[in-house]
Symmetry: C2
Subunit: 507 residues, 2 copies
């Protein structure tokens, strides 16, 4: 694979200067076009052999463009903040917003590479890590992002020469790392791993470009030109793709509704929620007793979880006025405010809209030992965004796989994940809406949108039914909560959390 | 995941009859549209709990459409022909051509499911198998195929009831399988595996639909309706997608060539082939001696390979008149004709064009112990198809990943894979062309196209350079053969094959 970049290609200083000038102008222009017309983020990755020019290439790209709209990030050993969370947390946090460029050094590929080379993971586990990366890149690319990866190469002999030069240069020798010579000895193993990485993750939507790293002039111009060409192509293709997607979504809408109405004969007439016994209730006395019992129990279990560094993530979804907020309050009442966070999610902000829809949720993944509670969540993608048409047919359909992958990473990291669907029937919703209207201090809770959503009750039910079907897996099932009677529902929630924590932290 | 399809949904006989009539008409119409306008194949998969109606659903789909354009295939235990080859061979062979429908029962998902349930593979290996399936489905979908998967479900109790009924029915009890009760006992394990499968492989381009299998009427209509809706959607979207792709390819071509010419400054001025020492040669005497020696050696090694059931695949690529045919003849001269096959590949036939480009090569994967020699190969995708514009920019770019995945499956199966790039320079090609013109019995070998290709020598070289870069991995590198002097080149080829076989079968 790398024989093709051990050819000794060079550019003279004069050629470099000439071509740099052209690149400089082109890249600045393209960057401005990206900011103005480009409705997508750009993610560049540099990986490769040490000494092959990752750093200098990144510096040049920054020189050739306006650094105000470039974010550079060199990934080093995970910080304690990062080690506490699933591996991709630190990567997702550095995905740039639309119109901007992020340059990652030794990013998502670095850890699997080292783990494999050091024999900490098997070849199959290595492949599994690469699949995670493929999923990540696919999710971004499906959303329109431009993803480009550079592998900077040096032959074994040349790397040796470079390391010697570095070692003997009093001004730069501080840059030598303790493992540099050790890794050089393992050169062949690294190259084998690199071949696996590149051949497995070199997709059309996130290609690898392998660069001969020997000559500064040659490799710099090559990197700049490839970047320029890809950005230029993406500016063109993404515009056409957007047009195509909107045309397609419209066509699907009209054609399908003409021939098979959304709630066609074959659609489930019964949803899973229809099977719930909404008459379940608790009398006041039992409620008070059980509430006190489970809150105390939860407090104790959560203390253990904090000590054992086990994180918990709770997701609440359900119709408007189904009692999500009330259930959450009973949980937080039991807990120490230092150790939990509640995130209420409404329509995304501007900066959130400029990112992949999962980005804002990745940002909320808790540290070890913390509890995070989501009042509405990433499931908005397959509920409100689906129903209101904010996410196209293609987008909410692939969201199931993206959500499963996201949650799988939480679970793999040992996070306890519980998802609650708070349920009431349509009449009860009306009663609660009316009660809100009549109670001055609750009136703010009710808005126009609630009434509009109510009109689409059946569509929301069907979407929720499908969501439960597609995203309930053994280790993170949906828990359906009969919340017509709030006391009953709240106790069910508390009980479920205690049960799940007990299984993990011991009672 | 399956709680949503344990609701006891039913349709009366009357409703069934009514809705069947509508479906029948619609499906026949859609099938005709697929044949006429539909420039894509349809691949349907049925998996799920035994007794949940896979068979009856397939029968109904066949009844509702014209069976002349449907291919049904029930995958059972692999035949010895199938066991000899990589797992996906039998699946690829049953991918339908454009305009047609294939219905697979217990297809690609069946073996990983069973292996996982029986503990023969670890969870990570299971995921790896599912990734292979994802790659397969993505390759088809990227090419335009409609892929749809049905999971037919029954609850544990209902399955028991079904099995009892079957057992006690004298007319149908022969359909009971020895493992049926054993598998029922393992119900929970199967369900857990099914959840993993569905959540991991439920992509936007190859969705799973989970069907409640209890009631014949309900499930049949539901399957029919979902199929109808998906086919209808695909007929619309695929047409728009084709339009978009051609628009995008054209735009990329014009925009890019305006600003950065194909051989822009940063493109490698030197290719890997330029580094070859084409003056290497063998004198006649040495050639004869070595030829006899290596042919004898190859014959012996191949005998061992046949006995040890080790297959070999040789790929020959290179410019016109670079001596691929001659090299192949020296190999086959040494072998027993029962144990090898040579496949010369030119432009695809009509039926090949109606399939994914890899399909015709999958069909040639050898049985255990056989040698297969490809005179030109799947690499046409990134050479001639790329240069001549038969494959769009997006298509040849993603082909590298598809080819790596394909070859990885050959290697994983233990096939010895060698890829030869036969190289000559441009002047030598001209000499050989002229010699062909002047030799009556060689004149047929030369055609107009050869002269046309020659004009694009540099583009072909660059494409070959990139191909070698992207598809040389440790266990299947490209071997560059200096074939300016045919004796030298042929001996290098024979030597390489002997060396590779020796490492595997022992000397």
């Amino acid at each position: 694979m790398f024989q093709t970049v051990e050819l000794g290609q060079k550019l003279s200083k004069r050629e470099f200067k000439q071509q740099e000038l052209v690149l400089w102008g082109n890249l600045l222009t393209l960057q401005q076009r990206l900011r103005k017309e480009g409705d997508f983020p750009v993610l560049i990755d540099f990986a490769g052999v040490r000494g092959a020019g990752k750093g200098t290439s990144v510096n040049l790209l920054n020189r050739w463009m306006d650094t105000r709209w470039i974010v550079n990030h060199a990934f080093t050993r995970p910080s304690d903040e990062e080690a506490d969370r699933p591996t991709f947390w630190r990567v997702w946090r550095r995905v740039p917003p639309k119109g901007q460029i992020a340059i990652h050094m030794s990013g998502r590929y670095s850890r699997p590479l080292l783990d494999y080379v050091y024999g900490k993971i098997t070849p199959t586990e290595f492949t599994h890590e690469l699949d995670r990366i493929n999923n990540f890149e696919k999710a971004l690319a499906d959303d329109g992002a431009m993803v480009l990866k550079f592998w900077m190469h040096l032959s074994r002999d040349l790397q040796k020469k470079r390391l010697k030069q570095l070692e003997n240069d009093p001004l730069r020798s501080w840059r030598m790392l303790p493992e540099d010579w050790k890794h050089w000895e393992m050169y062949d193993k690294f190259i084998e791993a690199a071949e696996r990485i590149i051949s497995y993750t070199n997709t059309g939507h996130a290609p690898w470009e392998i660069i001969e790293g020997e000559d500064f002039n040659y490799r710099s111009i090559r990197v700049g030109e490839i970047f320029q060409r890809n950005l230029e192509r993406h500016l063109v293709t993404e515009q056409i793709r957007k047009k195509y997607l909107s045309e397609m979504r419209e066509e699907v809408q009209t054609t399908l509704s003409e021939i098979t109405p959304p709630n066609g004969t074959g659609s489930p007439v019964i949803t899973i929620m229809d099977g719930l016994d909404l008459s379940l209730s608790l009398d006041k006395k039992t409620y008070k007793k059980e509430l006190a019992f489970y809150k105390a129990k939860l407090a104790g279990l959560n203390q253990k979880a904090v000590q054992q560094k086990i994180s918990t993530t709770l997701v609440f979804e359900g119709p408007d006025a189904s009692g999500k907020g009330g259930a959450i309050r009973q949980i937080t009442n039991a807990l120490d405010a230092r150790f939990y966070k509640v995130y209420p999610f409404a329509a995304p902000t501007d900066i959130e809209k400029a990112h992949h829809y999962l980005w804002r949720f990745w940002n909320c993944v808790p540290r070890a030992g913390r509890m995070t509670i989501f009042d509405r969540s990433w499931y908005g993608r397959v509920l409100v965004e689906r129903i209101e048409g904010f996410a196209g047919d293609d987008e909410w359909r692939r969201a199931f796989a993206e959500i499963n992958d996201f949650e799988d990473q939480l679970l793999e990291h040992g996070i306890v994940l519980l998802k609650f669907w708070m349920h009431i029937d349509k009449d009860e919703q009306l009663r609660r809406f009316k009660a809100r209207e009549d109670t001055p201090h609750k009136r703010w809770k009710l808005c126009e949108e609630d009434w509009r959503n109510r009109e689409r009750w059946d569509e929301y039910s069907l979407a929720a039914h499908e969501m439960i079907q597609q995203t309930s897996v053994k280790n993170s099932p949906w828990i359906l909560v009969e919340n017509q009677n709030k006391p009953y529902g709240r106790i069910k929630v508390l009980k479920s959390i205690c049960g799940a924590l007990e299984r993990v932290v011991g009672d």
